[in-house]
Amino acid sequence: MTSMSMKPQVSPAQTGVWVGIAAITMSFAAYSSALIVRQGANPDWQHFTLPRILFFNTLVVVASSATLYAARPRSAATVDRSGTVTAVDAPHRNWLYVTILLGFLFLFGQILAWRNLVDQGITLASGPSSSFFYLLTAMHGLHLLGGLTGLFYVVYRVRRSTTERAVRAYGAASLYWHFMTVLWIYLFALLATRI
């Protein structure tokens, strides 16, 4: 029997998020290559100045990752051979609230950036560069909303004081959230250099 024992069970949620990250990376790789091909295909690419609020939004989303890190359970969770997770400490609720707040602030900031462009007369259909700008920011925003749902779920788990499940949920949700931050930094760099 002992020869049959397996490595400690991984949390499927964590695996699921990693797989999801792979899929989302692929999607944005497709959007990016479409942008590059499209820019190279024709000389009609109009450059425009990105709304300055995007710099502020970038700071916000980076800060949200930091606050989410601050919310981590301080004493490390242990996993025994049967796969049971024992955590002494739950994720910290107040830091979670701050992260969620920053998440919404980021989305609000992105909407302000859109409004700024619309005021300048730059809309979705006005040119390929603006099409990609709206598309990429919207797609990132949609995925970020998914991350916010995950954070709400963690809060719900913490409030129900089911520590183990809260720790697992925190692990998966925070992995996704940090990925959203990285994705935004990538997109911001792409947009800043291409548009």
């Binding site: 792979a22 899929a23 497709a30 479409a34 024709n42 009609d44 259909a125 598309l135």
Partner: protein, 597 residues
């Protein structure tokens, strides 16, 4: 030898939670299979209508005029023909060939084969089925919109599919619904693939190492990895196409197009961009359709030959190689598309190389037959036919993989014959083999073998009569996607087209035997034992059908690989995966899986 399971042995009792919004992977798997059966019937009827029109273009099809206003008096118009073709392709590729072998059987069988009580994310699983269902409803709704159903083919090449109503019938709401449906389908498949991957990685029972996973589980696992990458590229492509259609963007539409005498208000888009994105998904999609068939055949073949599959590790390595290579070959769909002709030579090489792992798997199956003790049940026959058809379709791929020959054969019936053999019929035979094999496990009753064999032989002969002549037509330069052959040099092809039509109707009629068998066996079939085929994998260790949590409150423990046939086991010439008996002293198969320490 089993570890207890803490939760949900009984399962929900209410009708809605039990049969409709069920979280049970077995119910969801059956829902997928039911949906694909409906889709298959729809797709098949569409192909009959097309075939009847091609054989006898001026003859009215009785009753059709009453259902479809586009075919007044039962005569199919050119645009309605193209719509039938588009819907046939879309329904078959997405809602049959992707849904049935992967999502359907995979859902039902995979968790049981790895000794899990359910998928990793049952709620996602339920969602992915219902999202698929919604996608299907949206697609079928496209039949009933005022501007007519879409007619841009299942490949929906831009700008025809992107510019909207000006481009003719079918380019209004029909095409828009098509894009929405496929985008929705992508989301469902992504959820499904994610679930399959997490389940396979995390929920394997004790002793179920990767090397001990049955071949079908391997195939579903690899397919889900392909699907994850492929559908996450198709989804953005659909989003871009939808925006071009409804939001006035120009991702795929260049400047200066005059359609219906109207200068289009678009500028700077690239039609080839759509083709690249589409085929980056589209070619791996071929393997999404066929790899589960590989797995099913390799899973069934040892049980019906009573000997281990030849080279199990080589087989798995080949599937992984195919999955990897499938992402490097998409350009072979675009040799004539106007992309840089240098890239054609580049894409041609991996396209030809991918035939090597495919050829190896075929030889492994044929080699497995050598020295076998074949049990000729219907599942076995469909496996053997799978090999035959896969060889036929694979070999015609040699022609199309070469740009110089594709220069002549591209866009002809040769291509139609090729892909129907290799991904249509072969995948379908995999599905049918799986159906005859797993039906007892799914419903606790055996299918009727006599009816099964009649169905098999009629279908096997029928598909060759339908698709082999298409290769001849293609060699004669007969162009596909034509609703009639008015071009002078194609007029001579009509008799052969009539032959194909008759063969198609005949083969289609033979499927009624299958439907009858399915329904009759469901209620009247002989009661099945737990392991009617004397097979080794875990699904045969539990009752037929399995209880709600699959193993009745326990997780099985695995001691052997799935390939232990032709050995002196406790119950006969095989050793079940969960049987604690020691490995046979004198291994008959060099490929026997060693025990993991």
């Amino acid at each position: 030898m089993s570890s207890p399971v803490s939760s949900h042995s009984a399962g929900p009792q209410g009708f809605w939670r039990k049969y409709v919004f069920s979280l049970d992977h077995k119910v969801i798997g059956r829902q997928y299979l039911d949906l694909s059966l409906v889709a298959l019937t729809t797709g098949m009827i569409l192909s009959w209508l097309m075939r009847m029109h091609l054989g006898w273009p001026t003859k009215a099809i009785p009753g059709l005029g009453a259902i479809a206003p586009e075919a007044a008096g039962g005569i199919i118009t050119p645009e309605y023909y193209l719509s039938l073709m588009t819907m046939h392709g879309t329904i078959m590729v997405f809602f049959v060939l992707t849904t049935a072998p992967f999502a359907g059987f995979g859902n039902f069988i995979l968790p049981i084969q790895i000794g899990a009580e359910d998928m990793a994310f049952p709620r996602f699983n339920m969602m992915s089925f219902w999202v698929t269902f919604v996608a299907f409803v949206i697609l079928v709704a496209a039949f009933f919109v005022p501007e007519g159903p879409p007619l841009s083919g299942w490949t929906a090449y831009a700008p025809l599919s992107a510019v909207g109503k000006d481009a003719g019938p079918g380019q209004g709401w029909g095409q828009t619904l098509w894009v929405i449906s496929i985008g929705t389908f992508c989301i469902a498949q992504l959820l499904g693939s994610l679930n399959f991957i997490a389940t396979t990685l995390d929920l394997r029972t004790k002793g179920m190492s990767l090397a001990r996973m049955p071949f079908s589980t391997w195939a579903w696992f690899i397919t889900s990895v392909i699907g994850l990458i492929a559908f996450s590229v198709l989804l953005p492509a659909c989003v871009l196409l939808l925006l071009d259609r409804v939001a006035g963007t120009s991702f795929f539409i260049p400047a200066g197009l005059v359609i219906s005498d109207r200068l289009q208000p678009h500028a700077g888009g690239s039609p080839l961009l759509w083709q690249h994105l589409f085929w980056f998904f589209g070619h791996p999609e071929v393997y999404i359709a066929i790899l589960p068939g590989f797995g099913i055949v390799s899973h069934i073949l040892p049980a019906v030959t009573r000997k281990p599959l030849l080279g199990p590790r080589v087989f798995i390595a080949c599937m992984i190689a195919i999955a990897f290579l499938s992402y490097t070959v998409w350009g072979h769909h675009m040799f004539m598309s106007g992309m840089n002709p240098f890239s054609a030579t580049v894409f041609s090489v991996p396209t030809l190389i991918i035939t090597i792992p495919a050829a190896i798997t075929t030889l492994l199956w044929i080699g497995t037959l050598y020295g076998a003790k074949l049990r000729f049940n219907t599942a076995a026959l469909f496996c053997l036919a799978f090999i035959s058809v896969f060889v036929s379709g694979g070999i015609s791929g040699f022609f199309l993989a070469q740009p110089a020959i594709d220069s002549y054969l591209h866009g002809t019936y040769f291509v139609v014959g090729h892909f129907h053999f290799v991904m249509g019929v072969a995948a379908m035979f995999g599905i049918l083999a799986g159906t005859y094999f797993w039906f007892p496990k799914m419903f606790g009753r055996m299918m009727n073998e006599r009816l099964g064999k009649i169905h098999f032989f009629l279908t096997f002969i029928g598909v060759y009569c339908i698709f082999m002549p298409m290769h001849y037509l293609g060699l004669g330069g007969n162009v596909r996607r034509y609703s009639a052959f008015t071009v002078d040099y194609m007029k001579g092809s009509v008799p052969l087209h009539r032959f194909i039509t008759v063969a198609a109707l005949f083969t289609g009629a033979a499927q009624l035997i299958f439907f009858y068998n399915l329904i009759r066996s469901r209620f009247r079939g002989q009661i099945a034992t737990d392991n009617p085929w004397e097979a080794t994998s875990l699904e045969w260790t539990t009752s037929s059908p399995p209880p709600h949590d699959n193993f009745g409150g326990h997780h099985p423990v695995v001691y052997h690989g799935p390939n232990e046939y032709g050995v002196a086991g406790r119950n006969g010439d095989y050793i079940m995966q969960n049987s604690p008996e020691p490995d046979p002293a004198t291994p008959t198969a060099a490929a026997r899986t060693p025990a993991t320490a």
